[in-house]
């Protein structure tokens, strides 16, 4: 019953959605029978499904600490090999220490689709193996580029309340919505040349020796 009413309201709110012929008739009856209640519900529904303008979206995104650029195209060479650079970046109320190629799970970010490129602009610290830049509290000209990989639900958390000797127990499940981001690039610090692995060097040297022996 409640479900039906909800759906009928949302139909009234947003007229752009097409109706199913069969469902429409059933809903009409319900709607007549409890008109007053439906009106009360209307307000709550419109609150929940608030329409945001582009500026509002940008503002809210900036408050959380990100900015949506554009969808990632398959032709883009957005990902690079690992660089010995890290950044401490804030998204929402969490801070992550990231370098490129990492993936982080943040609370679900609104207004972004899977495969969108983002700029995370609340960078608190940048560092390489020799240099560190600390923001007070943020570095204005630094940026971390990321790509949205997934919007998914976390594992279920069970909230269990109990009062002893009162025969009171409540169980409630919760699944947090998360967004998975892949860090693509860190900008704002000069990057040192990637060092050649000592192991590889040694292997190369050994090979040379072998060649020498064979000769």
């Amino acid at each position: 019953m409640a479900q039906r009413r909800f759906s009928s309201n949302s139909r009234d709110d947003s007229e752009n959605e097409e109706d199913d012929g069969e469902e429409g008739e059933e809903e009409e009856e319900d709607y007549d029978s409890d008109n007053n209640e439906a009106e009360v519900d209307d307000v709550t529904v419109s609150d929940m499904k608030r329409e945001y303008s582009a500026e509002e979206k940008e503002e809210e995104a900036a408050a959380i600490g990100y900015k949506v650029i554009e969808p990632l195209l398959p032709s883009d060479r957005f990902f690079k090999n690992r660089e010995p650079v890290f950044a401490v970046v804030q998204v929402g109320s969490h801070q992550f220490k990231v370098s490129n190629g990492d993936c982080i799970y943040v609370e679900r970010l609104k207004f972004c689709e899977v495969n969108d490129k983002l700029i995370l602009n609340k960078v608190l610290m940048l560092g390489t193996s020799t240099q560190t830049i600390i923001g007070r509290p943020i570095l204005p000209d630094a940026a971390v580029h990321a790509v949205v990989e997934e919007h998914a639900l976390d594992a279920k958390v069970i909230i269990f309340k109990k009062k002893r000797r009162k025969n009171y127990r409540r169980t409630k499940g919760h699944r947090q919505e998360l967004t998975r981001l892949r860090i693509a690039d860190i900008q704002g610090i000069e990057k040192p040349e990637p060092k050649v692995d000592p192991k590889q060097k040694r292997a190369a040297v050994k090979q040379q020796e072998k060649v020498a022996v064979a000769a």
Binding site: E17, D20, F96, D102, C103, Y105, T132, E150, H151, A155
Partner: protein, 90 residues
């Protein structure tokens, strides 16, 4: 769902959407991911918007197994500046 499905199909050209009629069973959405995982969601008695929501959720997921995350930060390169030891001089 008849109203929303074609639009969903059009907006996601990378997906292969197939409808099947299975008599005597509850309606459900099945998602087959490229990593050979499968996810099934029951959509019995749901409004068409809710069904669409579930379909979008399946689209947005990568098909990982749902587990408790040990950490929200996954990296293969844990340290850039190296581990501190007593021998390090600045």
């Amino acid at each position: 769902m008849e109203s929303n499905l074609p639009a969903f199909k059009e907006s996601n050209p990378q997906l292969e959407v197939i409808t099947e009629l299975s008599r005597g069973q509850h309606p459900c959405l099945k998602a087959f991911y490229k990593n050979k995982n499968e996810r099934v969601v029951c959509v019995k008695n749901l409004a068409s918007e809710d069904v669409l929501l579930h379909a979008t959720r399946l689209r947005n997921a990568l098909g990982r197994k749902v587990k408790k995350l040990p950490t929200r930060h996954v990296t293969r390169h844990p340290s850039v500046q190296g581990t501190w030891t007593t021998g390090v001089r600045f």
